[in-house]
Symmetry: C2
Subunit: 506 residues, 2 copies
């Protein structure tokens, strides 16, 4: 039964245990693994590797598409096998190790890592471990629920280990569109002009002799933990849907808005859910991760086509989609993240990009990654790929956090992932600020009036007014720009009245 998934018969004698396959990985190696937003990651071999580390210390440089499911980042971190990790993660244990300086984490635009491998600007993987639905007659690899960087990892690696996960239906074959840009400087235009164009092949084309081991698994992907809209995220969605309707009315957007991209997580998911109750029709997505909301929109007849590089679903939606994947075959494609996030395509298609901010400031700079400027949360992910090149770059966040102790709108962000030059629209539960065509002083007034929580409005206006007295194109009180963050670290709140008297001398 299982062996039928290996349609290239000469490869059937490469089947081995995860423990055996893990032996290909030696201390100091660079390993490229499938897996993007906890979907489609290799599951058995990394676990076996972590086990081996208990006997003999092995340190690897681990590259993936994005985050891993099944606690793999936790397990690998605890085993001590991660020397370096890129380009993204969401795991609490790994995050701690990164912030302690124990794991070197390289936080990268998700479309760029493979380009840097292609140019040898990063070390190419010695071993690639790719989760697959099947191996074709030609020995090509059919991915599962994510493509991520799997195709280029397999192409660049010396050796490839395939994990065939029999829990995934073999009907996933045909869902993927594997296209790899040619080498520069003789690269030709990427031939993708519409979200539903298919320009590549349905499996990862590598010479079969590179496949060094095949492991069978049947562990499911982790389910998405995304929760439904709450009062604040529903308010954010409401502001955004009203704004988009107005943009259409003004002739600035086509009736179906153009292709949509939505970042991962509750807020972006809620925003997409907001479109369910809207009048918009014939919507399309050209995004990175496809979440529950994508399929809710498809099921409701609102969304005509979704292009992504991974699918991560809640338990409810998972069986609904994957048990009926044929019903979605003509509405869905999964591409390599280099293609789903490619600047060339994002600019060409005119994407509306909706991503989540950790905090933003008066002037529209966005922090997506660092708590108080120092502690890594997850990583920039694809937000920069989209925000920079999108038709419209939208960032959403709740106006306050931690029981009002934190304002997400601050005088100056403590880390910049998206500069004022790349941010068009800011939305919180309080309202929406359209920053297009505005100078910094004008942006500030709109952000204060529309986005900041009332608890912090006076405090932010006070900062801005005093900064304006001092002057400058972008008025700041440089010695006070981080006073909210400092106060948070010292006194647990950004409310400045809660500070010690000694600070007031500053």
């Amino acid at each position: 039964m299982q062996l039928e998934r290996i349609r290239n018969i000469s490869l059937r004698d490469k089947v081995m245990s995860a423990e055996q396959a893990s032996e290909f990985i030696k201390d100091g190696m660079t390993v490229g693994m499938s897996g993007f937003t906890r979907a489609g990651e290799a599951k058995a071999v990394p676990k076996a590797l972590a086990e081996r580390c208990k006997q003999q210390p092995i340190k690897i440089n681990l590259m993936t598409g994005a985050s891993l499911g099944n606690d793999l980042d936790k397990i690998l971190t605890e085993s001590g096998s991660l020397a370096r990790r890129m380009p993204f993660q969401v795991d609490t244990t790994l995050r701690k190790a990164i912030n302690n300086g124990e794991v070197m984490f390289i936080d990268q635009h998700l479309s760029e890592m493979v380009e840097q491998l292609r140019n040898h600007q990063l070390t190419r993987p010695d071993v690639a471990i790719i989760e697959a639905v099947a191996i074709t007659e030609e020995g090509h690899i059919v991915p599962t629920t994510s493509v991520g960087n799997s195709a280029s990892f397999a192409v660049f690696a010396e050796k490839v280990i395939v994990e065939i996960n029999t829990l995934h239906s073999d009907k996933l074959e045909g869902l993927h569109d594997i296209y790899i840009p040619s080498y520069r400087p003789s690269r030709t235009p990427l031939p993708l002009e519409k979200v539903d164009d298919r320009i590549g092949c349905t499996a990862i084309p590598i010479p079969p002799e590179k496949i060094a081991g095949i492991v069978f698994t049947s562990t499911p992907d982790s389910y998405s933990t995304v929760s439904g809209p709450d009062v604040e995220t529903a308010a954010i969605a409401g502001h955004l849907v009203r704004f988009l309707k107005d943009e259409v009315a003004q002739g600035r957007l086509p009736k179906n808005l153009g292709p949509l991209q939505a970042g991962i997580g509750n807020i972006a998911n809620a925003v997409m859910m907001g479109l369910l109750d809207s009048d918009f029709e014939d919507l399309t997505m050209y995004s990175e991760v496809l979440q529950d909301s994508t399929f809710d929109l498809i099921d409701a007849g609102k969304l005509r086509f979704a292009s992504g590089c991974s699918v991560i679903l809640s338990e409810r939606m998972n069986s609904k989609v994957f048990d009926n994947i044929e019903a979605y075959q003509d509405k869905l494609v999964l591409r390599p993240q280099e293609m789903s996030n490619h600047p060339e395509i994002v600019r060409r298609l005119g994407i509306i990009a909706v991503n989540t901010a950790l905090e933003f400031d008066l002037y529209g700079n966005v922090n997506s990654t660092h708590v108080c400027g120092t502690k890594m949360m997850n990583g920039i992910g694809g937000s920069g790929d989209f925000a920079r090149n999108a038709n419209m770059s939208i960032f959403v966040t709740k106006s306050i956090a931690k029981n009002r102790a934190i304002s997400s709108v601050v005088p100056m962000v403590s880390h910049v992932d998206h500069t004022e030059h790349d941010v068009d629209i800011l939305v919180t539960d309080q309202g929406l600020a359209d920053l297009r065509g505005l100078a910094p002083r004008e942006r500030a007034v709109r952000v204060i009036q529309n986005c900041v929580h009332p608890d912090y409005r006076h405090q932010l206006m006070s900062y801005f007014e005093r900064a304006c007295v001092r002057g400058g194109h972008t008025p700041h009180l440089i010695e006070e720009a981080f006073s909210w963050h400092v106060n948070l670290e010292k006194h647990g709140t950004m409310h400045l009245e809660h500070k010690q008297s000694c600070d007031s001398q500053q």
Copy 2:
């Protein structure tokens, strides 16, 4: 004589004085003007407008390609006619008005403004004023020494005023390649695959009836004020050339490096001059501004082809090039800035981008625009268009400024124009830091060891070490991150020993 430059005979009765043409501009209008890095700007009509302002106050929203020559930004600022200005400037008087909040300045990626006009995200110009060499039989406009945003301004404006500058040789015709991307969402790939591809036409195609007035002028472009290499810029060039040679040796770059982009100014010019004495051959440029160094490299047989969107030269080089422009016709093309800086092309061609930083920090974030976080210098220009999408993104700066009072390498930049995610290589006169594939803590060590001036090395290492004790992926002492800038503002130096005792309590 002059009239022969208007080859469409029906347009010859549109000739008028600059004063008459300026009457098309009414209070509150948006005006799109030719001019990029002080080359090819309309010269007579804006002056006449400034004169009119003495009688009746007129406020306009002025858009250009980039900076204007002939003191026009100064003259317009002093006349009080600038309400808004975008996307770039370099003028002292205008800069002061911007920093005083008197002129609203929108500092934008140079490739993006026209895209925002196309989508009506910015107000389209009521009037376009375009400097030209000639008007063709079809009524199309042949630009002069820059293309900038002229083509799209002329296409989008209600009325077009053409300034035919007879000082420019009519042999410039044929130099330009005017291509305008189609509307989204049905845009097709930009068909440019090599730096010397010509994909458009040689004049700006507009219906002749849009031309409302034609003014003859004979004022030259301002000369470039770029100076030759000094000890520090020569050192920067030396570090960079050595690095590039090594990249070729390692197989990470082709022998001719791939297309080069260099920002404007003395440092980038010096870097390009450094290539003159190198072994590199068959070089190409796909850049924004072509400066003296471009033509020195062409004349030396080092540079095969240069694509830009404007040419700005010193007095010496100006006559050498423009008196013999035929000799350069097959080595040169001028494109709209949307094309010279387009993300799609920059990524496809694999450009080596060299731009100047005002300051950069421990972790590779770059400030290109704001002095001490508040005061606008010039603007981001095209640096972001290139840095984000380039094969290799290099930033150069002298390690110190203002007689050692300022270190260009700081704990945290006071404004971010290019994030750590978009910066590969940093170079100062002290040395070069290759940040590719490094985590923040690793980047910091390289920056301290290689880039910072010895005067500040200990002080920066002290900051970094103390920050590491506190921890975080990107270690910072958030309350001290701007202490160097604060010290500079209070005591005129970034040397912290020169601070008042009261500060030491912080």
